[in-house]
């Protein structure tokens, strides 16, 4: 392969890799820092919500309410 051809080939993946890196970076950042944590937090919070709505008389719910009311 000639040198100019090699140089051309080397340039293309580098340019594409930079663009892809930028997109992947943004996407991965969003997934890793927003989507997944947000989903985890939402799931944990939602589970607590369901427990509070449907098991409001359970010992855990009463404990939480009592604890909050200590500061309320």
């Amino acid at each position: 392969m000639s040198n100019p051809e090699k140089q051309a080939l080397q340039k293309q993946p580098e340019g594409a890799a930079e663009g892809e890196k930028a997109e992947r970076g943004w996407l991965s950042w969003a997934v890793g820092w927003v989507l997944v944590p947000g989903t985890l937090i939402g799931l944990i919070f939602g589970a607590g919500l369901m427990v509070g709505v449907h098991l409001h008389d359970s010992w855990f719910s009463r404990l939480v309410v009592w604890f909050v009311e200590l500061f309320g």
Partner: protein
């Protein structure tokens, strides 16, 4: 060594405990929010998510609730004057209709207290009420007012009797009732329910047929004579439904059977009551009762007339409960199980 261990343990606790505490704290926040907003979230689940959940009453407020231990009754309002705490599961009340072992149409209710209708009140004309244009208000199911009875009459009331009723309808009735068979069925059925309440007698519609009589020019006795010429074909009684109005002045009717007569009468002409949508019900009750010994109440001063007994000629609104006076009721009860007169024999040579 101890210091290093303590430091290591402390780091481990922080390392693992912090996320656990965060998760637990987050979960507890959810629990507290759920407890405080139970009603709204349950309503959201029921209305938006389609879950089969019961929406509780409003969640207790802070410092007033004390939800644990159930110290305050849930139905009692809090002493600080905030929102009350009703029961969490309201129980729907259900109406309790009167139930009676009758498989036919809706049964009339019984009222032990006598009604006091206005005397001489003209019949209500449906559809002609002021402010009502077009379709008249639906007529409620005819009901009867049943008086309490003594022991002997109560025993008679319990004797089951079924009367097979044959009906002939004249051309005027057919002209005024396009669904004349249904009208006859409906009338006899409603009469049967009233008779069952009052006398323990069930009316069974045995046959329905056309009655070929002139529309005009025949007296009541002429109509009756013509009716008596028709065969009963297995029915106990034969009634002739005519669209002629019942004006209350018919005096040439046969005398009802006496208390000791061996047979009940078996033929009667049933007239229409002008202004009543159930035009022949009241007269049906009147005539059938006469066949079994009831007597007409003709004195307007009679309490039975004033109270609107169907054995009287008092004009009563169709919405008034059907009622028979006590004396006539006893007469019918005493003769309810008597046989009906046999069919008159045809004259020789015909």
């Amino acid at each position: 060594m101890n210091r290093k261990r303590i430091l290591a343990i402390g780091k481990l606790i922080l390392l693992f405990g912090t996320p656990v505490a965060l998760i637990l704290g987050l979960f507890s926040c959810g629990v507290y929010c759920g407890v405080q907003n139970r009603t709204g979230i349950a309503r959201f689940e029921r209305d938006w998510l389609g879950f089969d959940v019961e929406v509780p009453d409003e969640a207790p407020k802070k410092k007033d609730a004390e939800p644990k231990a159930g110290g305050q009754g849930k139905g009692e309002p809090s002493p600080t004057g905030t929102e009350p705490q009703p029961t969490t599961q309201p129980q729907p009340t259900q109406p309790q209709p009167t139930t009676q072992p009758q498989p036919t149409q809706p049964q009339p209710t019984t009222q032990p207290q006598p009604t006091q209708p206005q005397p001489n009140q003209p019949a209500v004309v449906p559809g002609g009420e002021p402010g009502v244009v077009g379709v008249p208000a639906p007529l409620p199911t005819p009901q009867t007012h049943v008086d309490p009875l003594g022991a002997e009459d109560t025993a008679r009331l319990g004797i089951p009797v079924t009367i097979k009723v044959g009906v002939l309808v004249d051309p005027q009735f057919i002209a005024s009732h396009p669904e004349w068979i249904d009208a006859v069925q409906r009338t006899v059925s409603q009469g049967s329910e009233i008779f069952q309440e009052q006398f323990g007698v069930r009316l069974e519609l045995w046959s329905v047929g056309r009655w070929s009589v002139p529309e005009q020019g025949m007296s009541a006795s002429g109509l009756l004579t013509d009716l008596q010429g028709h065969p009963r074909e297995g029915a106990d009684v034969l009634l002739g439904f005519t669209a002629r109005p019942f004006d209350g002045t018919e005096t040439d009717k046969p005398v009802p059977p006496a208390a000791d007569a061996p047979f009940n009468e078996a033929y009667a002409v049933v007239y229409g009551t002008s202004g009543h949508r159930l035009s022949h019900l009241r007269t049906l009750l009147h005539e059938l009762s006469r066949l079994m010994g009831a007597q007409d109440v003709t004195d307007p001063e009679d309490p039975a007339w004033i109270s609107g007994s169907w054995m009287s000629y008092a004009p009563v609104p169709e919405t008034q409960d059907q009622w028979i006076d006590v004396d006539n009721r006893k007469r019918v009860l005493s003769r309810k199980d008597s046989p009906f007169a046999p069919a008159p024999e045809a004259p020789p040579g015909e």
